[in-house]
């Protein structure tokens, strides 16, 4: 039966080509859009997790309220003790302290006068401890453009774009002018050991990375940090696990009546990030829904046109005594074959271009010049298990549903009128 149907479809291309093309186009768009959106959202979440939120982040309650202003006067104190407790009680999490700071980077000339100066955002991370995983988390080695990573005290990495703007060379001294934890002006000399390209516009515009101990010394924050971030060992974010960890920690350490007590937030609890995660979950569903509805309408319309074109054929078959139900089922079988072939073709093309964009990506750097979001300049698609089925099933369903609507016309044909119609 299937061979018979396929032969019919192949021989009558107007019955197969257009619907197959329609289903293919729909499946292709669904697979591609889903994979590209998945890639974009994953990048946004991953960049934020690496540079900002971690999988979990601990701050003081007071700091958390004004976190966007990086109020280091409200930072965590006694972090060494807290880290020790965390590392012994939550062994499957990588814990690392960080200090965020802002200020001016001032480059002196040979007389010590200002030669160049620019606003800078900084991150103090554990770069020099042998057990630290920060270099990997922040992809510093792969992002290195010139020089080397900091290996000694008071060495910093600076974004390549910012270094070029200030006319800085490797080995030069740069003075950080910022604020101490007490709000006093802080001045600290660093030596530029290397330049790095973060691939994130907001950081490439002007960011420095220094060892946390140097930053503690510069900002008068001994045994203090803006935050402690935690990552799961495999670097995969599991919301349920992290929410459970957050609950455990806050029950033990956080107190409502102490604004300087630590408060842990999971990535999804940070402002906006939960919505992004939810969006990723529902986005596939939204695409599928749109695809099924739109495609069904298009294929319904196509079926109706086809029905008109096959008016005579259906009439003859009914006149010859073929039951309406049987004819309707034959059309559904045809649509299943069309949907199957179209969905496979669309999925293959969609996966092909998605895989291509997973490796090459699209460079949006020019559009992100004023961006303040932690998102990569090169946005890549991401092919997941869902990418393989997200276009296939709706393609099949849309094709069948469209035909089911169009085929209803068969039941409206009156046997008594058939020969009259055929005479015409």
């Amino acid at each position: 039966m299937i061979r018979f149907l396929i032969k019919g479809l192949l021989r009558d291309r107007s019955r197969s080509l257009f619907p197959v093309l329609m289903v293919s186009a729909g499946a292709f768009l669904t697979v591609f859009l889903y994979s590209f959106m998945k890639g974009t959202m994953d990048d946004l979440i991953s960049s934020n997790a690496k540079f900002d939120t971690g999988h979990v982040k601990i701050m003081t309650r007071a700091y958390e309220e004004m976190a966007e202003q990086t109020p280091n006067d409200l930072a965590l104190l006694g972090i060494n003790g807290l880290l020790e407790k965390l590392r012994s009680s939550e062994r499957n999490i990588v814990w690392t302290p960080r200090i965020r700071f802002g200020g001016l980077l001032d480059i002196p000339d040979e007389r010590g006068e200002t030669r160049a100066q620019g606003p800078v955002m900084g991150l103090g991370v554990d770069l020099l401890s042998p057990e630290s995983r920060e270099k990997d988390i922040l992809n510093l080695e792969s992002g290195l453009v010139r020089g080397r990573l900091p290996q000694k005290k008071n060495e910093i990495l600076i974004s390549e774009e910012f270094a070029k703007k200030l006319g800085m060379e490797i080995g030069e001294v740069a003075t950080l002018i910022g604020s101490t934890m007490n709000g006093a002006m802080a001045m600290h000399n660093f030596k530029v050991s290397g330049t790095v390209r973060f691939g994130i516009t907001v950081m490439d515009r002007g960011a420095v990375i220094a060892d946390i101990k140097d930053v503690q010394s510069a900002l008068d924050m001994e045994d203090g940090a803006s935050e402690i971030v935690g990552y799961s060992e495999n670097m995969y974010y599991d919301d349920d696990n992290m929410l459970a960890l957050t609950q455990r920690f806050n029950d033990q350490f956080s107190r409502d009546d102490d604004e300087f007590s630590p408060l842990m937030l999971s990535l999804s609890q940070h402002s906006g990030m939960g919505e992004y995660l939810d969006l990723v979950d529902v986005f596939g569903g939204i695409i599928v829904l749109i695809f099924v509805v739109v495609m069904s309408i298009v294929l319904w319309n196509s079926g109706l046109i086809n029905g008109l074109r096959r008016y005579g054929e259906i009439g003859v078959r009914l006149a010859m005594g073929e039951p309406k139900g049987s004819l309707y089922r034959w059309m559904i079988y045809e649509s299943i074959i069309i949907g199957f072939i179209g969905s496979i073709l669309g999925t293959v093309f969609g996966l092909g271009i998605s895989y291509y964009l997973q490796y090459t990506g699209i460079d949006f750097a020019a559009m992100l010049q004023k961006s303040t979001m932690l998102i990569s300049n090169v946005i890549r698609a991401r092919v997941t298990g869902w990418s393989y089925v997200i276009g296939f099933v709706p393609g099949l369903v849309a094709s069948v549903v469209g035909t089911m609507f169009a085929g209803i016309g068969i039941y409206r044909r009156q046997t008594s009128q058939l020969f009259k119609e055929l005479e015409v």
Partner: protein, 245 residues
């Protein structure tokens, strides 16, 4: 008799209010108290932050209204930090970096050593009558002392605080309280003089509390430990070279 009432009232009004100095005259007398040919002072600043209290000591040399030099003596972290003001320029020297940085633009709004004072406050012309128009708006009592209430409005738009309200001791011509406002009318800072002392024939604040109302914490107490007027100050003090000495 009725014809005499109006002239009597006018004479009475003239006697009572004619003796009141104008706002401008009061402000000039305040300036006379505050400014001198030159002076040298040692001071203590107690900064009561949201989390901790810090105490800093400094020595200052001031000449007229255009030149000032301050060196921090303690705590150890700030020791040797120096500030130099010449005209409308300000430099800060950090001994740990051996760098001298010019403070300009938005840096002027930053807090001095984490206190409730900004570099802009440090740069302000101490002779207020040069930069403000003063209007006497009434009289009030502050800590049982009779005070004139002055309303000061900036002569130019670029003053740090466009409007100030000042309570001036009627007898000592020393402001006992000040409120500093932005042009929008928003209260920015409050200054209360808690203690005064007489030095070389003039009344001078001994202990005052600055409060930046936009900042958390209990304010900054500024204490004059010692002050000498009309002392000899070597000229090199007011040079950039002195910062690195």
């Amino acid at each position: 008799m009725r014809k005499l009432i109006l002239p009597i009232l006018l004479i009475n009004y003239a006697l009572v209010y004619g003796q009141e100095p104008s706002g401008k005259a009061i402000l000039e007398k305040v300036d006379e108290n505050y400014t001198a040919e030159n002076h040298r002072a040692t001071s203590t600043m107690v900064i009561k932050g949201r989390r901790a209290t810090r105490t800093l000591q400094a020595e200052s040399w001031i000449e007229g209204v255009n030149k000032a030099f301050t060196e921090y003596l303690s705590p150890a972290r700030e020791k040797g930090t120096k500030m130099l003001k010449i005209g409308d320029e300000l430099w800060i020297y950090s001994p740990s970096t051996d760098r001298t940085i010019k403070i300009a633009g938005h840096l002027l709004k930053r807090s001095v050593m984490g206190s409730d004072l900004s570099y802009e406050d440090y740069m302000e012309d101490p002779r207020l009558s040069n930069i403000y128009n003063a209007k006497l708006t009434g009289e009030e009592k502050i800590d049982e002392r009779n005070c004139y209430v002055l309303e000061l409005t900036g002569k130019k738009d670029d003053v740090a605080y466009y409007r100030r309200k000042m309570w001036v001791d009627k007898e000592r011509y020393l402001p006992l309280k000040e409120e500093l406002f932005a042009k929008s009318g928003k209260l920015l800072k409050r200054l209360v003089i808690k203690e005064v002392f007489k030095v070389e024939g003039r009344w001078y604040p001994k202990r005052m509390v600055f409060k930046d109302v936009l900042k958390s914490g209990a304010g900054t107490e500024f204490i004059i430990d010692s002050i000498e007027f009309d002392v000899e100050i070597p000229e090199y003090i007011f040079s950039k070279a002195a910062l690195r000495k």
